[in-house]
């Protein structure tokens, strides 16, 4: 029956009733847009809605960002985080480390979102590598492995970094660890390409979730940050994303944007208007912005609650192993540590659907199914080795 299945696969937020959630502030703004007869469906500029672009980048970099003050940032409205990654990748392939240098190594974390690889391959890069990230034995970050890979990487290599709420492990570097990472990257001339799909959604705080990106900016890096508003605005199907470019100065950024335009023009010409309008309207109104932050915190808090509830149940059941990683990990996903056989048991015997990697979407947990999921994990771990 329905109560006995749990879909822990989807990469979308669910309420405690297991339903999708259209943010109240989004509903409000959509109504405002629907009632505004002065609006039409004309083309946006190639780089997108100006009010969206400026606000979106401001969200990532912070109101007091030195880069914004110094007018050395640029923004490209994109189709979701994926679109932002792809435009950034296409630009890097054409203009980074020489002209059309397809041999520049691109490093992606092991593991990572499975689409990262395809984005860079399809953008033309020939040398895609992984960097150590997940330590399965200790169920945490393999910092030493990561730093070693960065030391050994050829100069000018591109590194895809998850800004927060690493997908799929939920394991982020601490601020101190980020500092170590930044130091190596600076010394070795490695290019930081941040993927920020969960700002606000991870900890409940926009600023906290943007700490790594902002730290790199403060350390003087030129970088890209692909932002998604799919999760933190719940605007999944409107494809709202933004590629933030931080450069050395306004002149460089201006030339970069002019070339971004050429790439956008042959990919989608100009981006979709509806989702960007919703986000721009929300971010530029102090009241709506406050409401949005509140909605985001609601989602983040529910996930945090499910994490602590699942962990406490597993510990109460005496499930073999340690389960603190459930609450130490952050964001939508958790790498439970279940092996493929145990995962198979969960799916076949308990009708709980999760990834073969043991990744679960915490949003699939509800107060109604917590007990069942905890018991099932307990069974899987004790019965199957």
């Amino acid at each position: 029956g329905v109560g006995r299945t749990a879909l822990l696969l989807l990469a979308a937020y669910r309420t405690d009733e297991g339903q999708p959630w259209v943010l109240p502030v989004v509903k409000k703004v959509e109504q405002m847009i629907a009632n505004d007869n002065s609006l039409n469906h004309e083309y946006l500029p190639i780089l997108g809605l100006p009010e969206f672009r400026a606000n979106a980048s401001r969200i990532a970099l912070g109101d007091d960002s030195p880069a914004i003050k110094e007018n050395r940032i640029g923004s490209v409205q994109s189709l979701g985080g994926t679109g932002a990654l792809r435009i950034g990748a296409e630009f890097l392939r054409r203009w980074y480390n020489g002209n059309n240098n397809t041999a520049t190594p691109v490093y992606i974390s092991a593991p990572s979102w499975e689409n990262h690889n395809s984005v860079f391959v399809d953008a033309g890069f020939k040398d895609i590598r992984t960097y150590h990230y997940w330590d399965a034995a200790k169920r945490g970050l393999d910092l030493q492995g990561l730093l070693d890979d960065m030391e050994k990487a050829p100069e000018f290599s591109i590194f895809i970094l998850h800004a927060c709420a690493h997908n799929p492990t939920g394991t982020d570097p601490t601020p101190d660890q980020w500092k170590q990472i930044a130091a190596v990257m600076k010394r070795r001339f490695l290019f930081p390409f941040f993927d920020s799909a969960y700002q606000g959604f991870a900890s409940g705080s926009l600023d906290k979730d943007a700490w790594a990106v902002r730290y790199f900016v403060s350390e003087g890096f030129e970088l890209f940050c692909a932002q998604s508003f799919s999760k933190n605005f719940g605007l999944y199907n409107e494809r709202v994303g933004n590629l933030t470019v931080v450069g050395k100065d306004a002149d460089n950024v201006q030339r970069v944007l002019s070339q971004m335009e050429k790439i956008v023009r042959t990919t989608w010409s100009n981006p979709p208007s509806q989702g960007a309008r919703i986000v721009a309207t929300t971010l530029s109104s102090p009241q709506l912005f406050a409401e949005w932050k509140d909605n985001v915190k609601t989602m983040a808090d529910r996930v945090l609650l499910m994490r602590s509830e699942l962990r406490s149940r597993l510990e109460s059941l005496g499930t073999p192993g340690t389960w603190n990683h459930i609450t130490e990990q952050i964001g939508m996903f958790s790498f439970t540590g279940l092996n493929p056989k145990q995962v198979e048991y969960m799916i076949k015997e308990k009708h709980i659907y999760l990834m073969a990697s043991g990744r679960i979407n915490m949003c699939g947990l509800t107060t109604k199914n917590l007990d069942y999921v905890a018991k099932s994990i307990h069974e899987a771990v004790t019965k199957i080795q």
């Binding site: 989004v26 450069g247 002019s258 979709p272």
Partner: protein
């Protein structure tokens, strides 16, 4: 120093440049004939009534915002295929096609271009008509293909160089890719007549070419969706398995919502499934899945009988206004006393018109009359109204007499 020191400034967009200069002009009589979007008789953007109704219906339904499938909204893609192919089409009824939602015309063209680069191993060459939409070349080039051309527009007559086209196409190497504008050729407005389409179909069949139709103006050209899709449907009936890009930017006024579709006509439904799986593999690393809003509006309109009826009336209204402006421009030129033959203005069809004006004449129109168009003499008839058509005729006469 910066990673980007060597990055060149991209060339300014020529059409954008026209609009920028227009905006700066303080002449109250100024006209922007570079705009590629429909304007009503007051020169204003036009949101279709059927679109407003569809939007109201959508707002009342309070739907969620979950991701669409990679291939897009199924109701939309199916209705899109039916609109292009016709409900009685054997290809449509048998299901030997795949249609995926694309990001308006550009995105749909690009999906197709990427698909050809990956799976069409017979040739790297795409043959475009001379001239073609400015963005065709960079789209195919960025997808990794090469561009060639076939004669199309005859500047001496401002009409189709049919014998030139047939001659060039007869020499295209077999199994090359040929792009055809289904209707309302952009930028010239010059379309083949039906008898000419028949000969073109026979020729491409003889040369065994892969036909890529770009249909951005179905309904918007003649006012009749079936008439505008005639060439596409005829080719398919002749056994030519075309690929097709559609846009709803103009015919539904959904410009910024980016509603479009890419279709591959296949041998059978099983092949269509395999093609679909590969299209999804191409789309996922581009933008994962498409935006919902425009597709949902278009889908509601196409699939709701009352809304569809209303749409057909409105798209005919837009086409009729354009046709009427063409007629008025020609009659006004006659009234001005122009002795030139302006018949091409009414022979041509769709949003754009290749006036035949030379760069120096265009320059004078801009400088002396504040009438803005691109250097090739192309005007967007959508920018002409009953209020300014007289002024336009007067100005054109002044620079051509």
């Amino acid at each position: 120093s910066s990673w980007w020191s060597h990055v060149e400034m991209g060339p300014p967009d020529p059409i954008l440049g026209v609009t920028e200069a227009f905006k700066r002009d303080t002449n109250s009589k100024k006209m922007n004939l570079g705009v590629g979007a429909y304007r009503d008789d007051n020169g204003k953007p036009y949101v279709l009534n059927c679109v407003r109704k569809a939007e109201a219906m959508i707002a009342s339904k309070k739907m969620d915002k979950e991701y669409l499938p990679i291939g897009g909204l199924a109701d939309f893609t199916r209705a899109s295929a039916e609109l292009a192919l016709g409900e009685n089409s054997e290809a449509f009824k048998s299901g030997r096609y795949v249609t995926v939602q694309g990001i308006s015309g550009t995105g749909s063209l690009r999906i197709g271009a990427n698909f050809l680069q990956r799976f069409f191993k017979s040739s790297r060459d795409v043959y475009l008509p001379k001239p073609s939409w400015g963005n065709h070349t960079p789209i195919f080039r960025d997808a990794g293909l090469q561009l060639q051309a076939y004669r199309y527009y005859d500047p001496k007559t401002c009409s189709l160089d049919f014998s030139g086209a047939m001659d060039d196409i007869s020499k295209i190497p077999e199994k090359s890719i040929i792009l055809l504008h289904a209707c309302a050729h952009n930028p010239t407005g010059v379309d083949p007549r039906q008898e000419q389409w028949k000969e073109l179909a026979a020729m491409v069949k003889k040369r065994n070419l892969l036909v890529y139709f770009d249909m951005a103006y179905q309904g918007f050209a003649s006012g009749d969706i079936n008439r505008d899709a005639w060439a596409v449907r005829y080719f398919i009936e002749q056994g030519i398995n075309v690929i097709l890009s559609q846009s709803y930017a103009k015919n539904m006024g959904l410009y910024g919502e980016r509603a479009g579709a890419f279709t591959v006509i296949c041998s059978d439904a099983e092949e269509a499934k395999r093609v679909e799986s590969q299209l999804k593999i191409l789309i996922r690393p581009m933008y994962s899945n498409p935006p919902l809003n425009g597709a949902r509006i278009a889908s509601l309109i196409l699939n709701t009988p009352d809304l569809r009826k209303e749409w057909l009336v409105e798209v005919k209204g837009m086409a009729d206004r354009i046709i009427s402006m063409r007629t008025q421009l020609v009659s006004n030129l006659k009234k001005e006393g122009s002795s030139h033959n302006w018949q091409h203005i009414t022979d041509q069809i769709g949003m754009f018109c290749f006036t035949g004006l030379k760069p120096e004449q265009v320059e004078r129109l801009i400088k002396e009359f504040s009438i803005y168009m691109t250097k090739d003499g192309r005007i967007s008839v959508a920018g002409v109204t009953s209020g300014n058509v007289g002024y336009l005729a007067h100005a054109i006469h002044q620079v051509t007499k």
